[in-house]
Symmetry: C2
Subunit: 273 residues, 2 copies
């Protein structure tokens, strides 16, 4: 089912700024037993993103009603919520008082092999770089050509994810995930002040680490930090945590910190309403 | 009139990658007396862009038929052509053999005051920066949030355009135009190897300058080069050339090189079929 501004329809206007300029934001949300998982965090990020882009954010009650409607009866699936600045304006200049477009769509759950979660995944380095833009950094906005080009770089099914660097050769993220590494017992994830998406699962992992008293930092990291790490894992809201067992020729064990966070995440998830 | 893949319709599928990721390109074309102006150049840029993004470009004959159809009877207007990677794929990863979506839409001609062309315009510096990405530099792709944010920075109707810089504080372009300046008889425009759109009119101006034997260069330029220039003008495919008479507090005369290129452009335009 797809709802556009509350109505069941499969299409949006050609003039919508989401298409014309990528002028909007999105959330990709796991749906389990008819409920969107981590909804509060997804909503908070979406609302904060709308505020940063000055898109008139949609009323939560209304969206929540629609979310419940599209998720109803879905045993396991993916909810994608898109909010665009809507139609109108003169060229790049948005219309004053323009009304946002909200799109809710349910997609099938991607059937990831269970081995990814249990035995870890192989990754590669992408050559496509992430451009710096502090005004957009952290946002899950609709300008995603860099990720599309990066994901096009390989079709080896053994490689599950690609590491993306910025123009300064700093490690930022996977094409569809955030990255964590452990060096000497310290949990580290790239700072996202210049580019990258501040994932919902990234936030959950940092909170879990804080609760567990695990030393952690969001800092500038390079290829060498990643390759010399004791443990590496990737995260997103659908997969949770996947250990990384190999990046190019560098192999990793699934280490104790990854295992411990994995366990904490599973018990947190099990306690969800 | 709007044509989507040749059919008259006003909407596109929510699943189109143009909306989902900004995965596509566009052209904004002046239509005069039922004909798209500078079509060959627009088409060449679009086709080259499709090749760079590996979007299966549409057959020229088919598009040309549709262009003629939507432009028919339009005395003066704007044709927007959008080509997206179409639907499908798994997340960021494009589908193999996916079919592009082409959208042709006619919009009213923007009624710019004649004074812009004759007496010049006032500009400002934007604080929104353009991110570097060599894979996307020069392309008129659908990821335009930087331009949207930059254009949102002012609403003073006296200010017609904003100068955008990159993260290295180099001058790149206007939000919807390319920039030229003249220093000591030398025509200069920012190099677009890291970001910015290689405008059709920018190409025409560089060709006209070459024909006229005017020394010209595409180089790295900073705010100081711009402010100390003898002449400044902006270009795009709709406006042709607009002289710049002021940037912030710095004032400029309409100089001889601007006037000469303006005249050459007008005579070239007059000779179009």
């Amino acid at each position: 089912m797809i709802l556009v501004n509350g109505r069941e329809q499969t299409h949006i206007a050609v003039g919508d700024r989401g298409l014309q300029y990528g002028d909007g934001l999105f959330e990709t949300i796991a749906v389990v037993a008819g409920r969107p998982r981590w909804w509060q965090r997804h909503w908070q990020r979406l609302a904060a993103g709308c505020e940063r882009l000055a898109i008139d954010c949609v009323d939560h009650t209304r969206v929540w009603d629609e979310v419940c409607k599209v998720c109803d009866g879905i045993e396991q699936g993916v909810l994608k919520v898109i909010v665009t600045r809507g139609e109108g304006g003169r060229g790049y200049r948005p219309a004053v008082g323009g009304e946002a477009t909200r799109i809710l769509a349910i997609y099938p759950w991607p059937n990831y092999p269970d081995a990814y979660r249990r035995q870890g995944v192989a990754m590669r380095f992408c050559t496509t770089r992430l451009g710096h833009n502090t005004a957009l950094a952290g946002l899950k906005h609709l300008n995603r050509l860099e990720q599309v080009l990066a994901r096009r770089e390989w079709d080896d099914p053994e490689i599950v994810e690609g590491v993306m660097l910025d123009g300064d050769e700093h490690v930022i993220a996977g094409t569809m995930s955030n990255l964590f590494m452990v060096n000497n017992g310290q949990l580290r994830t790239p700072a996202l002040s210049h580019c990258g998406v501040a994932g919902v699962m990234r936030g959950i992992i940092l909170d879990l680490a804080a609760e567990a008293g695990i030393p952690r930092e969001q800092i500038t990291l390079n290829r060498r930090d990643l390759l010399q790490a004791d443990e590496v894992f990737m995260t997103n809201a659908l997969i949770g945590i996947w250990p990384v067992r190999r990046i190019e020729q560098q192999e990793y064990e699934i280490g104790p910190l990854t295992a411990s966070l994995h366990k904490r995440l599973e018990s947190m998830t099990a306690s969800l309403p």
